[in-house]
Structures are given as C-alpha cells and as structure tokens.
Amino acid sequence: MTRPIEKVLEVRDLQVKLSTSTGPLHAVRGISFDVAMGETVCIVGESGCGKSITALSVMGLLPKKAEVQAEALRFDSQDLLKLNERQLSNLRGDKLAMIFQEPMTALNPVYTIGDQLTEPLLRHRRISKREAYSLAERILEKVGISGAARRMQQFPHQLSGGLRQRIVIAMALICEPKLVIADEPTTALDVTIQAQILHLMKDLQREFGMGMLFITHDLGLVSRIADRVLVMYAGQIVESGSVAEIFDRPSHPYTKGLMQCLPSGVRAQPGARLGSIPGIVPNLVGGIKGCGFAGRCPAVREACRSAEIALRAVAGTQASRCILPPEEVAKLWTEAVGLEIEQ
C-alpha cells in the first residue's frame, strides 16, 4: 500500500479540560496524531477514555465551557483554534464532516429525510432546492438506498436503524468532505448491518479519497477498516502504529489486554463472548499521577506509579507508553491471569 502524504488533519499536543459538577476534568491529556487524505486512522479505547471528546474538539462542537488547547490543531492547513464560530461552521458539514453514533436519535424526528439531507448543500453550496434534491437522491443511491425519491419524502421514524445510519452517512458525505470523523458509527446496529455499513464506508472513502478518523471501542472493527491505530487510555495515546504492527505485536499491556478480550483476535460471530480487563478506568477528575493504567496492569512496576511514562518508539512506526520491553508485554495475559471472561 502506498502511503498518502497530504495531511488533512494535524493534531499536536491536544489538551481538553471540562468542568464537571465534581471538579475540573482533564479529559484529553496531550495527544498528537495526523490523518492523511485517503487514510483511515482509528482511535480505540473504552468509553470515557477521551476519544469522543477528541473528535468533538476537532469539530469545534464541545460545550463552550470546555477548554481546548493544542500546539497545533490544523485541518486542511487552517488553524482550527484560530477560527471563530462562523468560520468553523463554514467548514463543518462541508470539508469537515462527522458521523454520529446513534442513528435512532441523530435525525430530527419532525423533518423529512430530504429536508435534512439537503441542508448541508443548501448551507454550503449556492444551488437551488431542486438541484440539492437531485444531488441528494444521487448520494442516497450511492449509500445503497433504493427508491431514493420515496425515501426523501419519509420521516426518520419510518425507517430502520440501518437505513437511518446510511442516511446519516450520506448527510456527512454529501458535500464531499476532505475529512470524515466517524464516532462509533456502527455500535448501535446489529452485526450484519454493521458489516454492510463498514463495507460501505470503506468503499466511499476509496471513491472520495477522503481522510477518515474512525472512533470505536471495538478492536475487532479496527483490523477491518484501519490503516493506522491509536489506542487511547485515560485521555492519552498509550500506543500507536500501523494495523499490522499493533495486531502483530501489541507493546502496551492495555492493547494486549484489549486484544485478549477478543474471542479469536477478530470479533466476527454475532453474540460472541467478550472478555474484559479487570479493574476500572481511573477517575480523571482532579488529575492522576504516573501511568493511568498502573492500577489494572499485571506487570506494574514501582516507576509506573511515580512518574508519567513517555511515549517511546518501539519499532517501525510503532510507539508505546510503557517501560516494559515489548517481549515482556507479549507474555502478559496469555495465562489469562485474573482475566475474567464476562458476557
């Protein structure tokens, strides 16, 4: 595979602080990554690790009270942090699009599909309503919806979850964005539909040549869709690398643990049993000391608890935030020490 070079998104040392009722929450603690045109980058992590916050901060959709800082947050060579709300909204839905998790609630129940689908076009392109509708019909066919003209007249509640998610995807792609951020786009769907949607997204990405930031908690999906993988834990990237590198040789105990939780490396069959790593994600309110995973790590050392662990290169493009040598990480969990398999 030839690696595309043109960077569409560049994130350097992104920090996001939220204020919660229990205190300030340092939700994203200095993460850096790039997305190139035509590339799919996956962010993997459990819920609460900061992956959705990362996505929303790129979109500029975090609540006003959230504090977003970064050394660089560049999209299409524009500094997103320097743009005002109006300039940001000019990008959103046009060159920068997002697909959301819940197809059942992501569409407004009181407007027709056609109305909602043409909104980005009417907002960002100088075209007539009629032209917008015919373009919208075409994109509906592209996302595999037949009888587009009839679907355009329907309301969200008249469609199945799979259809709705296709519409949400069509809505994100209708202005041919350079970057699509997909936040768990298939989580709410059943497994067969999930596979279809993934396939569709991969195809569309190839066709449009856009960059994709794919966010999921499901490592199984990652192997099917990603070029590169970022594993996030407690607001930090704990491991990054190409799909092959990460899956062949996970070099952070957390990645290894996640991998071990998959029934057979890749989650395929419906109703497959999922394991889980014992312990809970540390509370980020008020900040944490040392490695965030120390509390759940089977090979925790004294050094892990005292100081922050830096992200260090392992081999090739792979990097990991662990002091253990990769060979030792490889040995972890294999005897299934304390790894409980839950439903």
């Binding site: 959709l61 839905g93 959301f100 992501a106 407004n108 009181v110 309301f155 509640h157 809505m171």
Partner: protein
C-alpha cells in the same frame, strides 16, 4: 386521522352531555328558579303560581330531558332577567370575550416563547434567573389584585388608560395584560424545559455538525420539537382565557361572557348560566381537539396513530 377526529368529537359530545347534566342538576338543586321569576318581594302564593306556570313543580330529570331536547334544536331557553332568548344574550357578549381572550393569548405567547427560549438556551445565567422570578411572581400574583394594581398605576396615577368598559381598544390593554400574565408562567416554564431537553439531543448536534447557523439550529431544529409538549397546554390556557376571564371582565366591567355569567349568577338567571357553561365546555372540547390535530401536524410520529 378522520376516524380519530370523529371518535374524539363523539367523546366530546358525551363529555358535554355529562357536563350539562351536572350543571343543570346543581343549579336547579341550589336555586329555586320559581322564586327568581316571581321576583323580589313576591308572596309564597306568587312563587307557587310561577312554579306551576313554568313547570318547575316537575322533577329535575324530566325538566332536564325537556331542556336537552330544546338545546338539541338550538333553543337555549329564555333569560329570566332579560326576558329574551338566551342565544341572543350570549351571542351579544361573545365578541368582547373572544377579542379579550385572543389578545391575551397572543400576548402570553409573545412573552413566554421568546423568554422561555432564552432562559432555556442560557440555562442558569442571570437571564434564566430573571425569567424564573418573572414566572414565580406571575404564578403567585392573584389576577384580581394585579388588575387593581394596574388600575392604580395606569388609570388613577398616570391616567393613560380608561378604567372600565369595553368600547375601544384602549379598554382592552390592561385586561389583556392581566390575563396574559396569568398564563405566561406555565407556558414559559414549559418552553424552557422543552428547549433545555431538546438542545441536549443528538439531532441538534447533527444540525450543528452540518454547519448550520446557530439561529437556524435553534429556530428550525430545536423550537419545533421544544413546543410539542406546549401545544395541548396552550390550548387549555386559551380555553381558560375564553372561559375564565370572569374575574378580569367583572373588574373592568367589560361586557363579555364572564361578566354576563357573573351578572346571571347574582340574579340566579339559570338558563343563561347553563348556556355559558355549556358554551365554554364546547370551546374547551374543540380546543383540545384542535391541539391534537396541530400536534399531529407538527410531529409526524403522531400521524400514524
């Protein structure tokens, strides 16, 4: 949809039958119409004569059936006091009440929708607090007292508005404001709650992710959903303004239905009282039905039924 409307109308007629039974029975048990007709200072013999002449010696169910049969044919009876057909008396008073109710309702909506929207969008800011205080004061302010205060300030002290009557639009200003302020708190708090709820929803985030301008996100995507729960309550409020303006109309001596009702009550003019109650009940039935139809139009999910 048509079947639904017909079913609702049928139920409405049943309900109105029940209302009319209750009102007819109550009024006839409570007051002695023969005494009213015989007039003040009548002797016991006069009253007895009137009782027999008008058939009040017959049992209430019989008289009710007769009254109902007449009402069904459009004959609401004759006013004891004015000695004219009740229908004429009522029809004469309807326009003032309609004008007052609609003006007050429009004013209440014009106040509560923007205020509720603003308070909801700026939750827990000073705007929100101010709106809450405004609502709390409105809820605790007795209508008749507010009317009197308004009179003291705008009529007595400033002399801007006429004190009583219903001849010009200026007569309607103060009563409409008073009546509107009564309904505003409920509508405002509902709008606020609706906006807060809706602004958290996923489709608002979707709308923003499309790059829509804040104004469009709020007015197109949020507002229509936020006012859904408001519609039926607003209908009830309008019904209340059309039927419950009795206090306001009496204070300002406006020649509307409410004032008519008050006069009829003090004179025990039973046919008029019955007619007014029935009319207001009918308005209520139609308004709630209208609210349901409006809701179905606003929310496609309800259309499937």
């Amino acid at each position: 949809m048509l079947a639904y409307v017909l079913k609702r109308l049928g139920l409405g007629i049943l309900v109105m039958l029940a209302v009319s039974t209750i009102v007819f029975t109550l009024t006839n048990v409570a007051a002695d119409p023969a005494r009213t007709i015989a007039g003040e200072g009548a002797t016991a013999a006069d009253v007895e004569a009137a009782r027999i002449a008008y058939g009040f010696d017959r049992p209430i169910p019989v008289r009710y059936a007769e009254w109902l049969a007449n009402v069904a044919q459009g004959d609401l009876g004759t006013s004891y006091r004015q000695r004219r057909p009740v229908a004429d008396v009522v029809a004469e008073r309807l326009p003032v009440t309609l004008a007052l109710g609609l003006a007050a309702f429009a004013l209440a909506l014009a106040l509560s929708l923007p205020l509720g929207l603003l308070a909801g969008l700026r939750e827990n800011t000073w705007v929100d607090r101010l709106a809450l205080v405004f609502a709390l004061v409105g809820q605790a302010m007795p209508t008749f007292w507010f009317a009197l205060l308004g009179m003291v300030i705008f009529v007595v002290k400033l002399g801007w508005l006429p004190a009583s009557g219903s001849d010009t639009w200026r007569h309607f200003v103060l009563p409409s404001v008073v009546l509107a302020y009564y309904a505003t708190p409920t509508l405002m708090r509902l709008t606020r709650a609706g906006v807060i709820e809706v602004m958290k929803s996923d489709y608002i985030r979707t709308a923003r992710a499309k790059g829509l301008r804040p104004g469009k996100v709020v007015l197109k995507h949020a507002m229509r959903n936020a006012i859904l729960p408001l519609v039926s309550v607003a209908a009830v409020q309008l019904g209340f303004m059309l039927g419950g303006s009795i206090v306001v109309e009496t204070i300002f001596a406006m020649r509307g239905l409410g004032y008519l009702a008050w006069e009829s009550i003090t004179f025990s003019d039973l046919p008029v009282i019955q007619a007014v109650v029935l009319l207001i009940a009918g308005i209520y039935v139609l308004l709630t039905l209208g609210a349901d139809i409006l809701n179905a139009w606003l929310d496609p999910r309800l259309r499937m039924g």
